[in-house]
């Protein structure tokens, strides 16, 4: 008997058909991958299973019985648990208090604490129930979420992109736990777009594209190329990565220390890095380890950097505004596209004015024709699917808007381009195109600094790597000499030359 069976599930939203006749069969104890690009309908499907969204058509069978799951409480009562991509934990409460709040009916806090201890012991999920959540690393927070899910003794556990916030080592630990769960008979629905993980973990894989099922495969028998063909309809083009020819020193950061501005921010401690013209420096790290703070200091959004700590072609730019830095050739692509890289309600043409001033004449007069021509050129050159230069930024998909923003900055012919999370939430085709554009820019002699949480991406395009952990930056290493396990270890703050004690403390915080 199947644990879960979906037949002909359809869900129409006003603008898009998110699911179109989807069938899905999950056996007990099976780790079942749901693979698809952003917008393929994975999240909607999971919300239907979890009772958060009602399908327009189709039937759901649970252990052979047709059910109508009206809401998440009912789903949990049936034995379905879900760990969301974005955690829903209160920072100021302890792990146990958070779990306790999330339970439907009431054991006492002491009982919950005890059960957390036993569950985390049984499954190797190292969680201290008495620590406040804001002191936990992202990996630890995820474990709290998983423990919370496990306390309800689920028969089906849904995990939405669980590894996007983990170091490679932490991913391995998670997989051990998941395999143990599956061996005990709990079914797992594993949502991801990471092909390697699916191939190493999952027994079965349902591929979604545009709301429809495009493949039902055994992932262990597939290759990355064949899976991605099912996912996007074609294999992503291979990148031609030629060796770099580094030139003059473009960006030199030394002794950059910055106190955190919010209680849950990260303090930057003595950060040092160098980027030369014609090379790509990649910065790896688990999110929330100081990437945002470092980017704000480099872009000029945060101007508290000590004098002389940031130099661009030997000019001290630590106190300059973002506009001034752009005049000197430093352009920046932020990770938030809507609201930071672009104004959502303004047209693409208007959005070019954020960082481009070609169209601004004397007295600040904006020449509308130049603005539109620039937007049109970017749309054409970077293959942006949009309704034209007058389309509002928010009407574009994530990938197309990112192509537009990256194009806007590359087209400005920067001397140094800093890109944060270049392909976050971007579909595979657009991601390949953006990476290709960055490599091309490097070959044209531009210095490029890329911050990313996707190790695969960094290994693909970087010439050298540095790792950020707990607000500190590791020494650089050439990509040729680096390996994924080594960088993974560094992501926990354990790189050579750190004092053992400091490392121990931060490792607890940053790692796993």
């Amino acid at each position: 008997m199947l644990r879960l069976e979906l037949q002909g599930i359809s869900k129409q939203y006003p603008a898009v058909r998110a699911n179109d006749g989807v069938n899905l069969q999950v056996a007990p104890g099976q780790i079942h991958a749901v693979l698809g690009e952003n917008g393929a309908g994975k999240s909607t499907l999971m919300k239907i299973i979890y009772g958060a969204v009602r399908p327009d058509e189709g039937t759901v069978r649970w252990n052979g019985q047709p059910v109508q799951i009206a809401n998440p409480q009912q789903a949990r009562a049936l034995g379905i648990s879900m760990v969301f991509q974005h955690f829903s934990l209160f920072d100021t409460l302890t792990a146990a208090e958070n779990v306790w709040l999330g339970l439907d009916k009431g054991p006492t806090l002491a009982e919950v604490t005890e059960r957390i201890r036993s569950v985390s012991h049984d499954y190797g999920l190292d969680v201290d129930p008495l620590r406040p959540v804001h002191t936990l690393s992202v990996g630890e927070r995820q474990r709290v979420e998983i423990v919370r899910a496990l306390l309800t003794k689920p028969q089906l556990l849904i995990l939405d992109e669980p590894t996007s916030v983990l170091t490679p080592q932490a991913v391995e630990k998670l997989f051990v736990t998941l395999r143990q769960l599956a061996a005990e008979g709990c079914s797992i629905l594993y949502i991801s777009h990471k092909l390697d993980e699916i191939r190493s973990l999952c027994h079965h894989c349902t591929v979604l594209r545009g709301g429809r099922v495009t493949g039902e495969v055994d992932p262990t028998a597939e290759t990355n190329a064949s899976l991605s063909r099912l996912m996007i309809g074609s294999a992503p083009p291979e990148l031609a990565h030629r060796p770099a020819r580094p030139g003059a020193l473009a960006l030199a950061v030394r002794g950059l220390s910055l106190a955190k501005q919010s209680p849950f921010g990260t303090t930057l401690a003595d950060v040092a890095l160098q980027v030369r013209a014609g090379e790509i420096l990649g910065i790896a790290g688990v999110s929330g380890n100081g990437q945002q703070e470092l980017m704000a200091a480099l872009s000029g959004e945060d101007r508290r950097a000590p004098e002389g700590s940031i130099r661009l072609f030997d000019a001290d730019i630590a106190a300059l505004s973002p506009r001034h830095r752009r005049h000197l050739g430093l352009h920046f692509v932020p990770e938030e596209r809507l609201g930071r890289g672009a104004v959502p309600v303004m047209s693409l043409a208007q959005n070019t004015l954020l960082t481009r001033t070609e169209a601004v004449g004397p007295l600040g007069w904006i020449d509308q024709r130049t603005v539109r021509a620039l937007a049109e050129r970017l749309i054409g050159a970077y293959n942006v699917k949009a309704g034209g230069p007058d389309a509002p930024a928010r009407s574009l998909s994530g990938g197309n808007l990112q192509k537009f923003i990256v194009g806007r900055e590359i087209d400005a012919k920067p001397k140094l381009l800093i890109v944060s999370q270049p392909t976050w939430g971007v579909d595979v085709g657009a991601a390949a195109q953006i990476r290709g554009a960055l490599l091309q820019l490097r070959d044209a002699g531009c210095a490029v600094l890329v911050v990313s949480e996707e190790l695969e991406e960094l290994f693909e395009i970087s010439d050298r790597l540095q790792v950020i952990a707990g607000g500190r930056l590791s020494p650089p290493v050439a990509v040729a000499e680096a390996s994924v396990p080594m960088i993974g270890e560094w992501m926990s703050g354990l790189w050579p030359g750190r004092s053992a004690q400091a490392t121990m403390q931060e490792a607890r915080h940053a790692a796993a």
Binding site: A52, V53, A70, R323, R340, V343, L354, W365, I366
Partner: protein
């Protein structure tokens, strides 16, 4: 339970139609109110909405009332678009009136010979200075101490009112005025030149229309104006682009203060011709409604000003012709703003009657 659900794409048509719809709602509410007060709704509505357009005199009075509303609402539209919540245009209006009135008073007392056209630039400068100075207090406190500009600008209205009262009850009181709280009447040379002989409409109306066109150009075609709107729409994007929020704050407040001040100067040297404790007809507050009815668009502000001055005049007429209470026009202003905000909400959201189940779903999603 009722629940608001975001619409996938707000309709552009209805974004522009919503002022019209809210006007219709206001008219319906008005008709209901008239009926409840025992007055014939049709005839009362005609007094309110048709009479103000009846004849040249009525039309010029409409323009006269619209002039301060246009000037004040233009500045407020710029502020609101820049995410600067200046609701103290009333105070800036009064200060403009006080400074321009002071200049006129001085010219009158010194018996300086000056023609009306030579005085207009002086009045504009004096009014702009007074209003901008009053708004600068708001900008300074916000910039320096992060004081809430809504509170500061509102409180300064009362200060401005008391300052005006002190002046006309004290040092500026007309010695031959039988102890009435008012200044002497200004000399003829310091009156705003009128557009038509015998009618009160003055050239300030044309200046206000020119200001509207300039403001429209500033918002739509000038980089600084565009930058200020980015700051209002997406502060993080403005920070990313390196647009100065301080410059936006000061520009928005000084501009809107100056415009409100000019409106005050025109009022004092135009229809009034002297200073009294009641310089303003609540123009600064009414302009807030105008700015929103006009969709924060300078040309919309002109249309909104004409509409609201219709209400003001209609209210006065309704009082004298059919004996309706004076507060009625304030009630209609309120109903108009309220239904406009409701329409705007319904453009972005739709109402759903949610059962318990989907309510929980909304929370979980």
């Amino acid at each position: 339970m009722l629940r608001l659900e975001a619409r996938p794409a707000p309709s552009r048509l209805f974004a522009w139609a919503s002022p019209v719809i809210s006007l219709v709602i206001t008219v319906l509410v008005a008709a209901g109110l008239f009926a409840a007060l025992g007055k014939p709704p049709g005839q009362s509505l005609a007094v309110f909405l048709v009479e103000p357009f009846n004849g040249l005199r009525a039309l010029t009075e409409l323009g006269l009332k619209a002039t301060p509303l246009i000037l004040c609402s233009l500045g407020l539209a710029l502020c609101f678009r820049s995410n600067v919540w200046n609701i103290g245009a009333e105070g800036q209006f009064l200060l403009g009136g006080i400074v321009a009135g002071g200049v006129a008073l001085w010219i009158t007392e010194q018996e300086i010979a000056i023609g009306p056209w030579a005085f207009v630039p002086l009045a504009v400068a004096a009014g702009a200075l007074g209003g901008a100075a009053w708004a600068a207090v708001v900008a300074l406190l916000r910039d320096r101490f992060n004081a809430n500009e809504i509170l500061v600008s509102l409180m300064l209205v009362y200060v401005a009112n008391l300052l005006l009262s002190w002046l006309v009850f004290g040092p500026w009181k007309d010695p031959q005025g039988f102890n009435f709280p008012q200044s002497v009447s200004f000399a003829d040379g310091t009156a705003m030149p009128r557009m038509l002989t015998g009618l009160r409409l003055h050239w300030g109306f044309v200046i206000a229309l020119v200001a509207a066109v300039l403001m429209w150009l500033f918002m739509a075609r000038i980089h600084l104006g565009w930058q200020m709107q980015v700051g209002g729409l997406a502060p993080a994007a403005a920070r990313y682009a390196g647009f100065s929020t301080r410059r936006a704050l000061w520009t928005a407040l000084l501009t809107s203060g100056a415009l409100a001040g000019v409106a005050g100067a025109f009022e004092v040297t135009g229809p009034m011709g002297q200073l009294t404790p009641h310089v303003s007809n609540n123009y600064g507050f009414t302009a807030i409604i105008v700015a929103f009815v006009g969709r924060l668009h300078p040309l919309g502000c002109v249309a909104g000003s004409l509409l609201l001055s219709t209400f003001l005049i209609g209210g006065e007429l309704a009082q004298s012709r059919i004996g309706l209470p004076a507060a009625l026009s304030g009630v209609f202003q309120g109903v108009l703003l309220f239904s406009l905000l409701a329409c705007d909400t319904l453009i972005h959201y739709r109402l759903r009657w949610a059962s318990g189940a989907s309510r929980a779903a909304g929370v979980a999603a």
